[in-house]
């Protein structure tokens, strides 16, 4: 199959959906002639014109709220918030409006909109442009939270997000934009709430998100050299969450590592750990390890930022620690 980047996969999903459905409009800062800060909307202005590809001023509460109002009334807006850090300036529109309207209105009216944004450190952009607090959105009932880990997931999940009637926080990952992978040309949807077992294994389960799925697969390869058989599960959506796939994996392996780039405290890794501690504890042969970002703001200085991040080596180390328990 043809290989394209995560960025181009997202772009293709947007383009294909927009061709099909006139109700889709895209709003955000610099998404027009600039093509989006990470080039995800490249070319869309030329193809669909300024009525449907709308560059906005720095008014995130205004335009995210406008998307809520438009979605309620028959449109299907897709908004881009340049970095997840900036969702804080429109948090009321997300948490109190977008997420809750369907419920507060007693099931009448729905908010079929997508808020695209991205997480991740590693670009030297320090504490206000490198955060990963996607777990907060999983914490808020009413939101779908998608977390694509590869170009294939990027396209399929974004297509689903656009066609789905629920409000979706679509959390991309900065370092993945330029990674390549096989992506079908035709439009396809990856259903929400279905995890994917990226690799089967019998000894250790790694539940990984975003870029850490790739790191987990690398770790699994390396572990295989030591005869450790690692299973890698990508939840793909954090909410709804496919608990069953995770729980049955634990029944098999009895060892759990959760790898997620959000801060450790009260993050998504805590949730997976807590679910297993609540529902499958007696299958466990070892403590549950969380590999998450340290509870510090993201530092600027290159060596500190490097130390802040983690990948295959840290996961490998955790796998070995888990295997120390018979």
């Amino acid at each position: 199959m043809r290989e394209i980047t995560y960025c181009d996969a997202l772009n293709e999903a947007l383009r294909q959906c927009m061709v099909e459905d006139e109700r889709i409009v895209v709003l955000g800062e610099d998404i027009g002639c600039y093509g989006g800060i990470f080039q995800v909307t490249k070319g869309l202005l030329d193809e669909f014109g300024p009525d449907r590809i709308v560059d906005t001023p720095i008014s995130e509460a205004g335009f995210i709220g406008a998307c809520v109002g438009a979605a309620l009334t028959g449109m299907r807006p897709v908004a881009e918030i340049m970095f997840i850090d900036f969702t804080t300036v429109c948090m009321d529109m997300i948490v109190n409006q977008m997420a809750k309207m369907h419920y507060m209105f007693g099931g009448k009216g729905c908010v079929p909109m997508v808020l695209r944004t991205n997480i991740g450190a590693g670009r030297g952009t320090a504490a206000q442009h490198s955060q990963s607090f996607h777990s907060f959105f999983a914490h808020i009932p009413g939101l779908v939270v998608a977390a694509p880990s590869s170009p294939y997931e990027a396209k399929g999940l974004l297509t689903e997000a656009i066609k789905n009637d629920n409000p979706v926080i679509f959390v991309e990952h900065k370092r993945l934009y330029t990674t390549k992978g096989p992506v079908p040309e035709e439009s396809y949807r990856i259903p929400f709430g279905k995890a994917e077992i990226k690799r089967e294994g019998a000894d250790v389960t790694i539940v990984a998100t975003h870029a850490l799925v790739g790191a987990a697969l690398e770790a699994a390869e390396e572990a295989a050299n030591d005869d450790i058989d690692v299973e890698v599960i990508d939840p793909r959506t954090l909410s709804p969450l496919d608990k069953e796939t995770i729980l049955s994996s634990i029944q098999k392996t009895g060892r759990l590592l959760v790898a997620d780039e959000d801060n450790k405290t009260c993050g998504f890794a805590a949730e997976i750990s807590a679910i297993v501690a609540e529902e499958a504890i007696f299958y466990l042969k070892a403590p549950i390890i969380r590999n998450a970002s340290p509870d510090t703001p993201v530092p600027f200085s290159p060596p500190l930022e490097k130390a802040y991040m983690f990948g295959k080596e840290v996961l490998m180390d955790s796998v070995r620690r888990l295997m120390a328990y018979a």
């Binding site: 309620l72 419920y103 507060m104």
Partner: protein, 328 residues
Amino acid sequence: MDPTKDQLIGLYKTMQTIRLFEERIVDLYARGEVPGLAHLYIGEEAVAAGVCAVLTDEDYITSTHRGHGHVIAKGTGLDPMMAELFGKKTGCCKGKGGSMHIADMDKGILGANGIAGGGLPIAIGAAWSAKWRKTNQVAACFFGDDASSNGTFHESMNLASLHKLPVVFVCENNGYGISVCQAKCTLINDVASRAVAYDMPGVVVDGNNVVEVYEAAAKAVKRARAGEGPTLIECKTYRWRGHHEGDPNQGARYRTKEEINTWKEKCPIKQFKKKLLKDRIATKKQLETIDKEISQAISDAVAFAQESEFPAVEEMYEDIYVELGEAQ
């Protein structure tokens, strides 16, 4: 754009329905039948009545925490409204929303809103949607004087003017936030004067004069439908009661009896009634008949609400998400 005779009677009916509805809530609340916070609209009826009279069922409104008046004026039935305030399953929101979240998608009511200033971006979105879908619909956006200090005011006014969105911003200036008077919120006298900052027309009207409100709204709606963009209308008015029922302060700590009484004398309904009689639009008897019908409808609504069932506990877990496969 003068209202016709029928329209004038319509305005009276709407205002009186709001008034009598709210007065009934006072009583029901005191007797513990209405839970939560009921922010009453008594004294401000002319604003909702005047604005909604120039809107069609297809047009949209966004409302506030003080939303009963807007919702009644926009046409939601009293039965589902009252039932919602009681938290019953037959309520507009199946009892899940309550006073601060009444919505009625069939009537274009995109929700009361517990966040002061929260409705503005949603309103411009509905207007933008009408523009995208080329439907000629208009969105009217109600918000309070204090809500105009929220940043969403600025962002929404600017985006609406920039994209010439068919929206009418209606600032209900009753002089207070909860207890904080306007002079403690801003140096300016007229919120409408801020319209210049967005190259948008801004007008101040007597919010207790329903015809004045009607005419300003009619002009703004016409402008909006013609694709000429938004208007900011500021309606000077007053709330008679405390910020909400059960408010221990009931206004006494931050405003004088004299002030309240002055405004009660400017009662929008009393004034309008006088006018209707003087202009021979209606007779005293006709108005009394109307009043009686309204009272009856409200009593019926209360009975409906009282007889309705509460939602089953399991329903708490429904409507969080749209089920997959549900119609788009």
